[in-house]
Symmetry: none
Subunit: 206 residues, 2 copies
DNA sequence: CAATCCATATGACATTTGTCATAATTATAC
DNA sequence: GTATAATTATGACAAATGTCATATGGATTG
């Protein structure tokens, strides 16, 4: 089995390569450190399997996966991630990658590779168990934690619905200036710069 | 462990009951044959676990689950299904039920019950493997469809990452004016009003 | 070769957004 | 009962945003 290995961190790439090559059936035929490289290398090497990190600098593993799958719908891609990448799980599932593992879970990597090569789909246990929560949009934005007041939260929701200050003011029976002030405070509390970042924040935390 | 058993088909209920009671730790404290019964019985009996069919006459297992979970967020619900109930899987995941098994898979039922009672989430293997496919046919933002050009799409992604026009210009080596023009065109094509709505649109379509 | 389309760019303009200083109420808590 | 916090409000200002008209060079296509 010819494997292409992509990880931002050269140390990880090396470590993984060592692990993988303890398996006689596996050959690492290429490595890389970015999404763009993944795409280029994939097209060139046509590996049996692509083992890729999710979080990378230029283009993340998911974008790269999507692109590769567009060109090679049969591509077998196994994504690696850390616990903190929760939000990626659903996106990963949607791109159609064949597996999703925690990096920490070294023991599972080899079996997972074999399974994916055999056409199976593999998700680490912890990940499966998070799926219902994630789909449920649990993990709801805990506004108390950031010291956000009820009123402020109403503004947040309105912004996240795409309303302008004027519209928010009208809907909540406030003056536009007040809405602006609230928003300004919110941005400050959440350490964001503008309403767009706020909307994004909202969707990523809910 | 006290279990409530709901299935449309009395034969199945009986069969399952027999299987379950081979396990000394399990007691079937009630049975029923519809979603409504499930809700009523659940409230009355407060079982440790509810084992329920998905497809039933009056109110399907998912609606019933949703209702029960609303009243008892800690409820442990294990849904039974057949291969043909594909479309239900995603809905099931979204309701927050704790497990989802194929009826055919008798052998897994007892272990699954134990697992769920211990707070785990359990999905039959075949089901897990269908999740990516099922999610995938969801709305991936098909920018071709809206006549969005590649370049424009890059702008969209940048906006969805919370960048300002100035930053986008710098990153993509464009003038700020050009970025503004692109954005203006994009908003027009997608029938949106401002960058915030665009970011929201983006997150809702992927 | 003319007609389009794409990528890129300006300048001008109106509007919206975000910040700041400041302040009047009304609860609430100590 | 005084200090603090929450709700609401001004006005002024700078910066960012979005629109429009217009323009050029390159690629594609009929």
């Amino acid at each position: 089995m010819n494997i292409l290995l992509i990880d931002d961190d050269a140390l990880v790439t090396t470590a993984l390569k060592t692990i993988l090559e303890t398996d006689k059936e596996i050959t690492v035929i290429g490595t890389g450190s970015s999404g763009r490289e993944a795409i280029a290398q994939y097209a060139r090497l046509q590996p049996d399997l692509l083992l890729m990190d999710i979080r990378m600098k230029d283009m993340d593993g998911l974008e790269a996966s999507a692109e590769i799958l567009k060109q090679f719908p049969q591509a077998k891609i196994l994504l690696l991630t850390t616990f903190s990448d929760d939000e990626y799980i659903i996106r990963a599932l949607k791109t159609g990658t064949r597996g999703y593992l925690l990096k920490q879970d070294y023991a599972s990597i080899l079996p997972a590779i074999h399974a994916v090569c055999n056409g199976q789909t593999v998700f680490g246990n912890e990940i499966i168990h998070r799926i219902p929560d994630l789909l449920q949009r649990k993990n709801p934005f805990d506004y108390q934690k950031y010291g956000i007041l009820q009123k402020e939260f109403e503004i947040i929701k309105a912004v996240a619905n795409g309303y302008s200050n004027r519209e928010i003011a009208d809907t909540l029976f406030l003056s536009e200036g007040t809405v602006r002030n609230y928003l300004s405070t919110i941005l400050d509390k959440l350490d964001l710069r503008d309403r767009t970042q706020l909307a994004i924040f909202y969707y990523q935390h809910l």
